[in-house]
Symmetry: C2
Subunit: 687 residues, 2 copies
């Protein structure tokens, strides 16, 4: 039977050169068809009716029917309902959980500390103790520095290293993350809040506003987690975060020049031009070389120890205690030489004692409440993005899974509690988490150790920090910044995805030259434009058969694939056939079919196209404009005498094709595979 | 050889119920592998090294290598260059054309009239003459009506039916389109321009501004065509146009109540609330029942004839001459009864004579030039959208191809020329094109016949229109509106695509309750949000093997497909794995793999998943966030002891996977087909 059809197929216009390959392809196809002996007979010995373009239903092998008679996909309402149910009522699953399992397991679900707490032993605690002490030695100077970056009194930084780490230890799922104030969030807070309230003229109102923003940020974070809105944080792509962090690091570094130069006059703006102008003015006006010398020498000390620590694992301890050592040494030097009388700026009084209650400082009915909520939202997203990026990367290294929604709830609760106890926004720190990991932490207990150490310092040692020079705090912040600028990753992004790099550089330049908010907006905007462009870029690729198989692949990607003369198998380069590209795609396929334009690398002289097979396997969706274009395409092809077949439409697509009556208008030429489409269409054509 | 591997495969955890199917599947896979006898040996008799997760290169069949060693796809710069070259320098191809073909053919390309002109004969002309005269009888009253809708003197409508049709006949490629003023563009012009200049207080400046806008619209249209920017018009989706037209029709209808009621006070706003308020005031204040009776009786006459014409093809002529008959009859009635003295509003003086030159009226240095350009852009897009929608649908019916870019150049040139000869924006009219087609037009000569008839009317008959009542013009406009409201199509859109319907209803409500511009903006906005949502909606579908084949399909779409126990074959429901969805998708696959949640209709009790095959055949693009998520997914799966393989990545995707070193990090487990992936991974696992 196959041999007869081969002879008949000789009528079909094949170019001389490709005859052998085509014959082979047809033979393979015939082989395939032989799996359906009953139906093959009716296909290869066609009746009179079959000469029409309509292929009758009962004459198609069963598989073709499967494509056409797929069950109806769930409708939009059904999908919406499911989506809302999954998003808004995740508790439903939790209650189910409660019934099915023991209460203890469910509690362990809510408080992860109960799960891992059982297996906790003294050996793990020893590791955590060491890691926690290391963390504290880094955290105390950094916290004071970041508080000044946020234009708050130094003790607020220490407060923020007490309550949030405790709460995170109870609620959080990450084992390595180090909680506390971080540079970028501190910059973000001061940059946005000082537009509303002047931190110098009105420090009490400013602090109240920061704490209000912290409350809102916490509420937003907890809400994101509770309502499973974690995707809001995903709007900041990896590339955008890399660019944003680098831009923020440069801005923070430039702002530290104020401390390093020991000037008093400085700009409140955060764009690079204003800051550089302020630095220029300071250098010409009033700066104190003592501050600069002190800061720079300790900065080089810290950087040298870090360099040594990276070179030799044994010296890692040196690099971690370097900041605290610098603080102690510089404070001693200033105290002994009374350098503060020669112009060296010092921290002066740090209020001692534990976190005071700050409920009365919340401005919930003030004139700036709405703005505080807006700032809270931005800060919440940025803080979560940093924490989750940090948490995920370390969880991935250790091979365990981080529950994003649970993390958000933990962050939210700790910030809400923090806002009631004089903390500002805390999150997971890039640099300290890395130190925690390197110091060998086992669980989140290292955070508790750190918090206890900070409490002891707050109670006993704040007075000792009176003579600590501000230049040292600046140099500690500066020393943490290189970790935020990941040139390697930026190069990787450039190498892998040029458009992603555009989002990265957009965020970077936006932060540098405009403001942090604009940098974020640019990054999100560029990311979405990239999504749109990828989805709608018009373009088709020609498919060829891999010799000896029934697999059709892109002839450019697989140069060994062979096009079948007289038949154009085409597939879209995009996932949507919609208003924005359907016309362009229609015209391109028409051009390809009618041979008006030679497209593609393999565009050597071909015979006239007799059949176009449109492989829809990668088409996710089609809209009414796309359907209209397909109909127009079919009409135009029919008027040129070219047949048109569609293969492997997905669930949504075949459903829409049926609804729009397109299936009938192309004579039900919808097939599961390209091979089947070619076989049936050639057979029908010959008949 | 296959039987040994079958025995060995017994170790692999299969649930009892599925054993037979799985055995069959494995047997088929083994059969497949037997096509590569040399490589099969090395695969089924694995060496000691192969027990590691890394499958060595030289032991894979050749096809696997093809996937990994695909040539590099064209880079972004190359694509950008090609895109710009194709877009900006389409003439390059034209010059090539010039070399290859004769000059006459190239001229025919520029002036389509030269192509079809040769085959033109007296028989075709007879048909065109009849169609042209029919068109003119409809066009003259409509043109006057639309000019009043655009708040211009009536003669401008007639002018617009002279120059543009002539030029379109020379340059255009559509055979059926009827060129002239249209309702929606007239409304758009008056709605936007009267915000800048009052048409009643300052008619000369207003007219000048309309003509300036026409010039800009023409320039934009011609530029779209010349620089192949036709996709800008595609931004208005089919659904958006349907909604926009319906909204505009209702707005136009409501505005006609002014003429029908014979009031003088009316609102200049175009939202439904202002207009209804104005109508309410008019009805209570000052309206003339004579106008209303006259308008309504002739409106019912026109609608009745149209109804008859639709019922019986013979009476089609009656419906087409009804508008002109109404004008003549009503003018006679008013003239004989001198009803204008009893409050019936009449057209009064229409300036006779051909189009005057209007170069001096262009306001190219005025204070409103920038705004005129902006309005020109919006009007250009809307006018093109209407003309191309009309042209394409009729071209599709007659089975010929409409060159979008050439159409735009034709429209642009005719509007630029029109702006120099006292015309306002002309385009292809929905209603008159349908009449032209029904009247049997053969070529665009019917437009020339119409234009000549309008010229004769302008020279001879304008004086006769002195007593034409304005209510009749209103009723003629009203009678043309039902054609703009396509309830059927709106229902189809609703049926086929709910999200598309949202764009449709958005445009409709936007036009009704805000303004025409806002309606357009809403439609474009909704359309793009739809694109984003379709591209990034997270979701996976489980694939199963169609029994007796190597084809893997969605188990929900094809209920006969069988999942292989212990192996999860999954595919994305979206085309991009990017920042916005990669995390969600990663968690979903993890949930599916670790069996924490039973998903899908077929979620009956399964054995523990041992292998996840991720079918990438429909993944168009992946960004750096997506790559990071894939790596995290692989790490998490590896820590659970689940293997991970990737199949059929497309050109861009495999390129990025290679660049990001993902291919090596998953042990080069990248395959062409799902079947191969399963075979190789099971074999490696057993070894």
């Amino acid at each position: 039977m196959p041999s007869t059809s081969l002879n008949e197929r000789g009528n079909f216009q094949f170019s001389e050169a490709h005859e052998n390959i085509a014959a082979e392809a047809v033979a393979r196809a015939a082989e395939d068809l032989s799996q359906f002996p009953q139906t093959l007979q009716t296909t290869t010995v066609p009746s009179a009716q079959e000469t029409s373009i309509m292929v009758a239903d009962d004459k198609l092998p069963e598989r073709f029917q499967w494509v056409l008679n797929a069950p109806e996909p769930p409708g939009l309402w059904c999908k919406l309902q499911n989506g809302i149910t999954e998003t808004i009522f995740p508790l439903k699953n939790k209650f189910q959980h409660l019934r099915e399992h023991q209460v203890s397991k469910s509690l362990g679900n809510l408080f992860p500390i109960l799960s891992w707490g059982k297996a906790y032993n003294i050996k793990m605690f020893r590791k955590d103790l060491l890691a926690g002490l290391t963390l504290a030695s880094l955290c105390i100077p950094q916290s004071i520095g970041y508080a000044t970056l946020a234009k708050l009194d130094p003790q607020y930084g220490l407060y923020t290293s007490v309550v949030p780490p405790f709460l995170y230890a109870i609620l959080g799922t990450s084992r390595e993350i180090a909680i506390g104030p971080v540079a970028v969030v501190s910059l973000l807070l001061s940059a946005m809040i000082q537009k509303i309230e002047d931190p110098v003229a009105n420090p009490v109102a400013y602090t109240g506003l920061v704490i209000t923003v912290t409350l809102f940020a916490g509420i937003f974070q907890a809400a994101f987690g509770a309502f499973r809105l974690g995707f809001l944080v995903d709007l900041l792509s990896h590339a955008a975060i890399v660019g944003f962090m680098a831009g923020a690091a440069i801005m923070i570094g430039l702002q530290q020049l104020k401390g390093l130069l020991g000037t008093t006059k400085f700009t409140n703006k955060t764009d690079i031009i204003s800051v550089l102008a302020a630095v220029w003015r300071s250098v010409h006006d009033s700066w104190n070389p003592l501050n600069f010398i002190l800061g720079c020498s300790f900065l080089s000390f810290i950087l040298t120890t870090r360099f040594l620590g990276r070179k030799k694992q044994k010296l890692f301890w040196l690099s971690t205690i370097a900041p605290l050592t610098s603080v102690v040494l510089s404070t001693l030097i200033v105290f002994l030489t009374r350098a503060d009388k020669h112009g060296v700026k010092i921290v002066k009084h740090i209020k001692s004692g534990l976190n005071p209650i700050s409920v009365h400082q919340l401005q919930l009915n003030g004139p700036h409440t709405a703005e505080a909520a807006k700032i809270g939202l931005i800060v919440a997203v940025v803080a979560l993005a940093e924490a989750i990026a940090v948490g995920r990367s370390f969880a991935s290294v250790r091979g365990y899974h981080l529950d994003g929604n649970k993390e958000m709830v933990a962050m939210g609760v700790m910030n809400v509690a923090g806002s009631l106890t004089s903390c500002y926004v805390a999150t997971g720190s890039f640099s300290r988490t890395a130190v925690n990991f390197s110091a060998g932490c086992e669980t989140v207990v290292s955070n508790i150790v750190m918090a206890v150490t900070v409490i002891i310092s707050l109670e006993l040692f704040t007075r000792l920090l009176f003579y600590t020079p501000i230049a040292i705090l600046a140099s500690i912040i500066l020393s943490a910044l290189p970790g935020l600028i990941d040139l390697n990753e930026a190069y990787n992004i450039w190498k892998v995805d040029k458009l992603d790099f555009l989002a990265c550089i957009g965020a970077f330049l936006g932060v540098l030259f405009a403001s942090v908010e604009i940098g974020l907006l640019v990054a999100v905007g560029v990311s979405f434009v990239t999504v749109i462009l990828s989805s709608i870029q018009p373009g088709t690729e020609t498919l060829g058969r891999i010799p000896g198989t029934d697999i059709f692949v892109d002839v450019n990607q697989y140069p060994m694939a062979v096009e079948i003369p007289g038949i154009l198998v085409t597939r879209l380069k995009c996932a949507l056939l919609c208003f924005a590209n359907s016309n362009c795609i229609k015209e391109r396929i028409l051009q390809l079919a009618t041979g008006k334009q030679e497209v593609g690398d393999k565009g050597n002289a071909k015979g006239k196209t007799q059949l176009i097979v449109f492989d829809m396997s990668n088409l996710m969706n089609i809209d009414t404009t796309g359907l209209a274009s397909l109909k127009e395409l079919h009409n135009s092809l029919a008027s040129e005498g070219i047949e048109f077949a569609v293969t492997n439409p997905r669930w949504q697509v075949i459903h829409k094709l049926r609804l729009a009556n397109f299936v009938n208008s192309i004579g039900r030429r919808v097939f599961l595979t390209v091979g089947e489409a070619i076989d049936v269409c050639i057979t029908a054509k010959m008949a």
